[in-house]
Symmetry: C2
Subunit: 195 residues, 2 copies
DNA sequence: TGGTACCAAGCAAGCGTTCGGTCAAGGGCG
DNA sequence: CGCCCTTGACCGAACGCTTGCTTGGTACCA
């Protein structure tokens, strides 16, 4: 089972273990002793690989946000059609969110903790770019007549962005497949629930 | 300013102060010393009024859930029409949520902490009843032809319930009025964003 | 022999909570 | 009226425990 470990790949393994715990309990609520337990070592030994608990969180969050930003940029680059771009953003975001469940829980539970620290200033920066992308897409959609003209873009953006990473925090995601969730989300988003 | 305090009304005042902190930082992240500071007393003195920090949380959560349940029951009692009932639920929930902002933050941030304890078993009970109400309304709406027949009721319920208490956690709610949010929410919900 | 990976032990700070004591307000009583 | 004695609200200090993190040492592999 415990096959030979590569040089610095062991570090990535520890990050993954920590991420699993962060995804379930959040960052602050997870102790370094729990992370060490999951790895089968003592808590002090973690500090051979990381200089702080925050560093682990940093690694998880920055990796996530990089992927998310890449998805957004790719979507607006690939197509001029707002509706298609939004659909692609929803798909790439959903994929990223399920690959980085820990990051989402951390952003939701410990946003106050992270966003205050200078080290995590990139959190706000990235959010700004995401917001800008959404607003431009929604505005363009209104101009082309695809979206309702009475749409409050900023309000709609806030709703959509948050709605988008709601399902990821559902623990019993075994109930629905990713495709099911995406389809339900897109239909609700574009058409509402009315017949 | 500090007018004479009534007998046990001082206790309610402390609960309100604690609630303001819980609404901003969550339950676990708020310390009893911070609560005491806000009240201008020492942390130990809090235990003259409450037997534990959890008791304060209990008071806030149960009061909130009582109001929410009352709103749901009233909505389904007042009208047989699913669409009208849902609209009324959205309005009553929004009102309750803005009156009990602390409870929502606690449910979102510290759900794991509370839901595990027997003392807070009523959390799960209430959620069950809310879920049941939504599902029955959505099913009835499908049968009457008001809602799309291909709606996955359970998935839609999950989305709607969570979407409903999203805007409350937005700190800068000064940007939009409550009515604006409700309108945007209802339009998105029933009609989607498409023209 | 030198470096990597870990252990064993412990530190300071912070947590929720407890406890003995103080002190002003106020009702009963002579 | 003047005295006593209860009571509620709070202080000051500490308790036991958990937190993230540090330190000194050691086994092992190249």
């Amino acid at each position: 089972m415990t096959q030979s470990k590569s040089p610095s790949e062991r570090r990535a393994h520890l990050v993954r273990l920590a991420g699993d715990l962060f995804a379930e309990k959040g960052f602050r609520a997870t102790t370094v002793r729990e992370i060490a337990d999951a790895a089968g070592i003592l808590s002090g030994s973690l500090y051979h690989h990381f200089d702080s608990k925050e560093s682990i969180g940093d690694e998880i969050l920055s990796a996530f946000l990089e992927d998310v930003l890449a998805g957004y940029r790719e979507a607006v680059r690939d197509t001029p059609d707002p509706r298609t771009a939004i659909e692609q953003i929803v798909r790439s975001s959903t994929a990223n969110l399920s690959r980085h469940r820990a990051a989402l829980t951390m952003l939701q539970n410990d946003w106050n903790y992270f966003s205050g620290q200078p080290r995590f200033a990139y959190l706000r920066t990235t959010m700004k770019e995401i917001e800008q992308t959404w607003i431009e897409l929604l505005e363009r959609g209104k101009q082309t007549g695809q979206f309702r003209a009475d749409l409050d873009t900023r309000l709609t953006y806030r709703l959509l962005r948050d709605i988008l990473w709601l399902p990821t925090s559902w623990r019993s995601s075994a109930t629905w497949s990713t495709d099911q969730i995406i389809d339900g989300l897109l239909r609700l988003l574009f058409d509402g629930i009315r017949a």
